[in-house]
């Protein structure tokens, strides 16, 4: 069996989860088995995961699973993996997956991989592809062991509806005591969180002053994009640190990354060079970012950005 740990936000399954179920189903078929979705905590319509290929949902509706306590989740997931004779357990490469992957790998004593972009099955063997050296290398290896575990990138593959709602089995097993007490969860409201955004508009020092940020907001609004920034912008307090992308900030991989007034130092590129398409707007023709870009505009950003926003609005109209 292939088991996928699901995640929800605001009462809906995350896109990362729909992707994981889609990929889990594809791998399960190639292995001649099925994919089971494990749903911890309250859920609105768990049967809908069948549309993405799950053969069955195991729903554990327990209050103590509302927060991701790594010890508790590891015990529960390994219990379910044992019952279902799992050959592969998939978590998403998210804050939840990061809490769990190392523990699960030790528990299963089998192959493991984090940040996986592709799983291949050949002759009954599973091999994975992941990026290493901050996007500057691609790593491949075979996962061996009775039960292996991976964290799958949220955008590893499009989520595909290929099936119909599936049976939901309620599971009530003893859940160990919590090792951590969650006091508070604080979320910035509004935009899609950066790691989940398909489109990201990002700006750097070229913007000159925080009061100029309005043109970035307008462009992001026209695109339905999330906003990011370079390290100097976060360090000087223009923007909050959780918007900083790069080596020491967040690593993201949206479908479209628009870099405005960012030179493209190697530390910044490390956090964004896995983006599918990169647009660079910079007045310096020597900016290293142009080498990593798919499309570039070498001109004053204060002229270009409003024009691009206008062109997008016209195209939408």
């Amino acid at each position: 069996m292939v088991i996928v740990l699901t995640e929800q936000q605001n009462g809906r399954f995350k896109n990362a989860t729909l992707t994981a179920v889609t990929v889990g189903t594809q791998v399960a078929r190639a292995l001649g088995t099925q994919c089971i979705a494990l749903v911890p905590g309250k859920a609105n319509d768990p049967a809908s995961l069948g549309e993405y290929g799950a053969a069955k949902v195991i729903h554990m509706d327990a209050q103590s699973l509302e927060n991701v306590d790594s010890k508790v989740y590891t015990a529960v997931i390994s219990d379910v993996a044992k019952r279902e004779k799992a050959g592969l357990v998939i978590v998403s490469h998210t804050s939840t997956g990061r809490q769990l992957l190392g523990r699960l790998a030790v528990r299963f004593r089998g192959g493991f991989a984090s940040g996986v972009s592709k799983v291949l099955v050949e002759g009954g063997k599973m091999s994975i592809t992941r990026s290493a050296f901050s996007g500057k290398a691609i790593e491949n290896y075979v996962l061996s062991g009775e039960t292996v575990v991976i964290s799958l990138l949220p955008n590893a593959s499009p989520a595909l509806k290929t099936g119909t709602p599936c049976p939901v089995e309620k599971l009530d097993i003893p859940i160990p005591a919590a090792s951590v007490k969650v006091r508070e969860v604080k979320r910035t409201e509004g935009r899609v969180p950066l790691p989940e955004a398909n489109i990201v508009v990002s700006a750097g020092r070229g913007l000159k002053d925080p009061s100029n940020w309005g043109i970035i907001e307008s462009l992001a609004g026209a695109l339905g994009a999330s906003i990011a920034c370079s390290r100097p912008v976060a360090d000087s307090g223009w923007r909050p640190h959780h918007e900083h992308v790069g080596q020491t900030g967040l690593a993201i991989r949206p479908n479209l990354y628009i870099a405005i007034g960012i030179s493209g130092a190697i530390q910044h590129l490390a956090g964004v060079n896995n983006s599918k398409v990169i647009v660079v707007i910079n007045k310096d023709p020597e900016a290293p970012f142009f080498k990593a870009a798919d499309y570039g505009v070498c001109a004053d950003l204060f002229e270009v950005v409003p024009k691009l926003t206008e062109a997008l609005r016209k195209a939408h109209a």
């Binding site: 809490q99 992957l101 790998a105 969650v182 195209a315």
Partner: protein, 246 residues
């Protein structure tokens, strides 16, 4: 408090990335190494701050060869009290975590820090593995950690926000940006680092879980398509019809 900080060496950010032996090994020829920034800037410095506030000791541990000693001395120069090097070339995260867990098992550390990941293999695995091996609580990507009346309050980064938790020690956590500020070793630190204890210990026998890794370089990007400022309608068309991303 007894604090343990796991430190690793990584190639400098600007080092070239190439592979040898048929794409099975990172080619270190001409590469300069440094302490992994998450280990040095955040994990180590927060451990030192906790020690300065409430007393105790900060031990650093590294799994590596003699080449790593210069990095270990730097951690001592920044302020760690003593160091341990498990004498072994790291194989995979499981191998490394097993070595650290074997050392820490009977030492009663209150807090074990790792960086959130190493900037070369980007695995983000070792912290959780040590926690499981020692049966301790684990929090990943910690951006704040405070002691409040004997309770440890830990903030971790999650998508679009933070989660704040209370944890009883001992625990393991992986350090992210925000946890502390980088410290540059001063002359006194550098001088005393030479005489601080660095014990070299034998590895425990563990088989790695991952073998036969192959590396390739990502395909070269095709040349950038440059546009003029008055071609924004064209850029929108390209993003929509050629790149298909909007």
């Amino acid at each position: 408090m007894k604090l343990l900080v796991c430190i690793s060496k990584t190639p400098e950010t600007t080092a070239k990335v190439a592979f040898k032996d048929n794409g099975t090994m990172y080619d270190t020829a001409g590469v300069t190494f440094m302490l992994n920034p998450y280990d040095e800037w955040y994990a180590l410095v927060r451990a030192l701050e906790l020690k300065e506030k409430s007393g105790g000791t900060v031990t650093v541990i590294n799994v590596g060869t003699t080449e790593d000693d210069v990095m270990i001395r730097k951690a001592l120069a920044i302020g760690a009290d003593d160091a341990v090097r498990v004498d072994a070339a790291p194989r995979d995260a499981y191998f490394t975590a097993s070595q650290i867990a074997a050392f820490a098992r009977d030492k009663n550390f209150d807090l074990i820090f790792t960086g959130k990941e190493t900037i070369d293999y980007n695995g983000s695995m070792v912290g959780g593995m040590i926690a499981e091996m020692l049966d301790l609580p684990f929090i990943s990507y910690v951006s704040h950690l405070e002691m409040e009346n004997g309770i440890t309050v830990v903030t971790r980064d999650i998508e679009g926000g933070v989660e704040i938790s209370e944890v009883n020690l001992p625990m393991v956590c992986s350090a992210a940006k925000g946890l502390a500020e980088q410290r540059i070793p001063n002359m006194r630190g550098i001088m005393t680092s030479k005489t601080k204890p660095l014990s070299i210990i034998k590895r425990v026998e563990v088989s790695p879980m991952i073998q036969d890794v192959r590396y390739t370089l990502p395909p070269q990007k095709s040349a950038v398509h440059m546009l003029q400022p008055d071609q924004m309608d064209e850029l929108v068309r390209l993003l929509r019809e050629e790149a298909k991303v909007i």
